[in-house]
């Protein structure tokens, strides 16, 4: 994407929280932004690629992205990074040291917590980093606040010479609401970078000198929080409960209890303890509504402000009005409100996320499923984590980015006598490999592991919607960029060239044979699949297939590919060798079929035939 004309100052726009942050980053005069994609944070950097006057780039992971932003901030440019909650773990090494040295120009880290676990492996609370790293935390509730607090975050960052964490949640990132925007202003000039090793070279002697600075900074930030207009009380007539809340919790409290007094935190760390103490005096009791951990509540208790919160509210997930209302009614000894809703219907089948029609990963997982009993399979983070599900059930572990290769080495070295003959397979995608898998592979070859690595290279970051990375040959703007050569890369990381195979995953017999051979060889092998994600431009559709009804024997083999275009036409139970056997006769949804031919390879009676090419859009779906 290239710079687009941007709306004028004063315009009211319907923006998502992510888009609002991007707008404010641009207006704040930021010149460098770097990030790695991750739901729900991805659109912040993506949107920045449409703005002029700044450099927006995909980094290979969150740590390098934050370090680029730190470097830019030392050079004197306001800078920005966005990441999801687990991404901040990856970047934490840089964060926890730079917090001592601080920054010259403003640096804002937008950390997006996946409250409610829509697309993550855990639900950690990024507000901890404020306590851990002595950093200010700002917490917007919606897009307008995300916009305003991003601008405020740059002021705070420069005032205290520290990175600032803008704590977002899924309900802020992905909710669209009205946002009134302003205009870009150049950031205050910081002048040339000057040699100052006592500040920027962190070794024990310099770090020790910075510690008292940090203590003073903590005090100054606490005073600033007490006086910040981002922390304020809203009066209410029903003084039985005063709510102390931040982020989307604030909106839910206002929705459920419009007459209650509320203390709203925007500059939530350090918390404005004295302001809250004063607020508490005007109400009968305090309830803290925070997503998700018991942080503020603990701090208020420590400060001697009596309150409750997690004792009556859920310890995880969103605190929606329908969760707050009954909990508060119970606390007040009132009857729990009964909603006059339409009665719930019968249980409807689940519709879990699944791989796409014709996805190249289908071939890999169908093949792995056939080897299931002979191997332990360590998985990783991406669309292909879905391979753990029905019908493939072809993953044994998933923990975090890059952990497939490293845990595979541990599974190899720690194997029990019963597992001596088992193969160990690590499955990782192209972007995840570049994010955190390269070190794991080097570690694997160096330590002489007996592991077969399957790199599923679909030429994109699939799960987050198709972003570019060093393996795609394009940068964040879609412009040509150096493209990493995976076979050469893995060879450089110590893999024997004879053990590096590039395979088309749609040719399942070849993939099967290659996997079997490489698993049998007791050294590190790398098999790279080389077909693109079906959702990106490089993907080529072919004429669809159809099932010749009379030839289908109902064996159901093709259903084991997991391709969503294969539909069951009818089921039958027959008796074969005195045993009941379930038959499933199939059809193919030809409007969805990409003509990849995977299912043809699974069809014994050869009942799946290619159609003549059809006109686009001419078939009714379903």
């Amino acid at each position: 994407m290239n710079a687009r004309p941007q709306p004028q100052a004063g315009t009211r726009l319907l923006l998502s929280g992510n888009e609002a942050v991007a707008r404010a980053v641009w207006e704040a005069g930021v010149r460098v932004a770097a990030a790695y994609p991750g739901t729900p944070a991805t659109e912040m950097l993506e949107t920045l690629t449409t703005y002029p006057d700044l450099v927006a780039q995909w980094g290979v992971n969150e740590k390098v992205s934050l370090e680029v932003a730190i470097g830019a901030a030392l050079a004197g440019a306001r800078s920005f990074t966005a990441l999801k909650q687990v991404g901040l773990n990856v970047a934490a090494d840089a964060l926890m040291s730079q917090t001592l040295a601080g920054v010259r120009a403003g640096l804002v880290i937008a950390a997006a917590d996946d409250v409610g676990l829509s697309s993550s492996q855990n639900e950690q609370d990024s507000r901890f980093w404020g306590r851990f790293g002595h950093l200010p935390i700002l917490e917007p509730a919606d897009a307008q606040e995300a916009y305003e607090m991003t601008l405020a975050a740059y002021e705070i960052s420069e005032q205290f010479e520290t990175p600032v964490i803008l704590r977002m949640t899924t309900r802020v990132c992905h909710v669209k609401s009205l946002t009134t925007v302003g205009q870009r202003r150049e950031a205050p000039a910081k002048g040339a970078f000057t040699h100052d090793p006592m500040r920027w070279v962190l070794v024990p002697a310099t770090a020790r000198r910075r510690q008292p600075v940090q203590v003073e900074r903590d005090k100054a930030m606490a005073a600033a929080s007490e006086n910040s207009p981002l922390n304020f009380a809203i009066a209410g007539s029903d003084k039985r409960i005063g709510f102390v809340t931040s982020g989307p919790g604030f909106l839910n409290v206002r929705e459920a209890f419009p007459n209650a007094p509320v203390f709203k935190l925007g500059f939530s760390y350090p918390p404005p303890i004295e302001k809250i103490r004063a607020f508490a005096k005007g109400v009968e009791r305090i309830v803290v509504v925070e997503e998700t951990e018991k942080l503020l509540e603990t701090e208020l208790m420590a400060a001697g402000i009596a309150c409750t919160g997690k004792a009556i509210l859920p310890a995880s997930g969103e605190l929606a009005p329908e969760i707050l209302a009954p909990a508060i009614a119970k606390l007040l000894g009132e009857p729990v409100p009964v909603r006059k809703a339409t009665p719930a219907a019968q249980q409807v089948f689940p519709r879990p996320p699944t791989m796409c029609v014709g996805c190249p990963h289908l071939g890999a997982y169908y093949t792995l499923a056939r080897l299931r009993r002979q191997v332990t399979i360590a998985g990783d983070i991406g669309c292909y984590t879905l391979g753990a599900l029905h019908p493939w059930k072809a993953l044994d572990t998933t923990t975090c980015m890059g952990a497939s290769l490293t845990m595979a080495l541990g599974l190899d070295k720690g194997r029990s006598p019963e597992d001596q003959d088992k193969g160990i397979v690590a499955v990782i995608g192209d972007s995840t490999f570049l994010h955190m898998g390269m070190q794991g592979l080097l570690n694997l070859t160096y330590n002489k592991g007996n592991v077969t690595v399957l790199i599923l290279d679909n030429h994109t970051v699939g799960m987050t919607g198709g972003q570019d990375h060093p393996g795609t040959g394009k940068d964040a703007y879609g412009m040509a960029a150096p493209r990493v050569d995976f076979p050469k890369l893995v060879e450089a990381l110590g893999v024997n060239p004879e053990r590096i195979k590039v395979v088309n995953p749609y040719l399942m017999p070849v993939l099967f044979k290659t996997l079997k051979e490489e698993i049998a060889i007791p050294e590190v092998s790398v098999i790279i699949t080389n077909q693109p994600c079906v959702l990106i431009e490089d993907f080529e559709r072919f004429a669809p297939y159809q099932v010749v009804e009379k030839d289908c024997t109902g064996c159901g083999n093709c259903l084991n590919t997991g391709c969503p275009a294969i539909l069951v036409r009818k089921r039958e139970t027959v008796t074969k060798n005195n045993r009941p056997q379930e038959l499933a006769f199939v059809d193919i949804d030809m409007s969805g079929c990409t003509g990849c031919g995977l299912c043809v390879e699974t069809c014994g009676p050869d009942a799946i035939k290619r159609m003549a090419p059809i006109a686009k859009g001419g078939h009714h779906h379903g």
Partner: protein, 204 residues
């Protein structure tokens, strides 16, 4: 709960254009001076999973989510999804249900059953339900991709927003992005309006 906030729950599955339809309604409400909030579901839901969009508009909207039992209108782009979300409707709410069935692999492979007659089950809830064969209508108009526009037309007369305004926002959006589709979309919108008018409401 605050009065005068209208809650529209749109549901369907990944890739059906649920979010785009919600966006058009949100833009319409915005242009008419309402406060608007609209949730988006992304991430894993893009992979054939359940997609919902909560649209709330009125004088002042706080929480972006529609609590269960508070939706005024349910706009379902798929039959079983309509059934799944029916309990989010308020008792006198209106449900507009596309009769399209999209069968997921968990059903194809025999782990679960697709409900035999979701419309009958929805009727049992005793609400104003109107079934729309949006796919059939779009096909008659010559392009199955018009399904979303048919559904937008179907809901237009049930919203506290002028249908003509919804149509204008829709038309403008297509004029900017796909001018060749503008006329077809207008036709699809009107066909959807007619279909929901003709669809027999089931008395509560």
């Amino acid at each position: 709960m605050a009065e005068a906030v209208t809650n529209v729950l749109l549901c369907g599955i990944g890739g059906q254009g649920v979010l785009t339809a919600a966006e058009i309604l949100a833009e319409t409400a915005l242009e008419l001076g309402h406060d608007v909030k609209k949730t988006e579901v992304a991430g894993m839901a893009q992979r054939g999973g359940v997609v919902t969009s909560h649209l709330r508009f009125g004088a002042k909207v706080y929480s972006p989510s529609i609590p269960p039992g508070e939706a005024d209108i349910l706009l379902a782009f798929e039959l079983a999804e309509g059934l799944r979300w029916i309990d989010h409707l308020r008792p006198k709410g209106v449900a507009l249900i596309n009769t399209l069935r999209v069968v997921p692999p968990v059903v194809s492979t025999g782990l679960f059953n697709y409900p035999a007659d979701p419309l009958a089950d929805i009727r049992k809830a005793g609400i104003d339900m109107r079934a729309i064969d949006a796919g059939g209508i779009a096909k008659e108009l010559g392009n199955v991709r018009l399904v979303n526009t048919v559904m937008l037309g179907a809901v237009a007369d049930f919203l506290p927003l002028p249908a003509e305004k919804v149509k204008a926002v829709l038309t403008r959006r297509f004029a900017a992005r796909r001018p060749e589709m503008a006329e077809a979309n207008t036709k699809a919108f009107e066909a959807g309006r007619a279909a929901s008018r003709q669809a027999q409401p089931v008395p509560a």
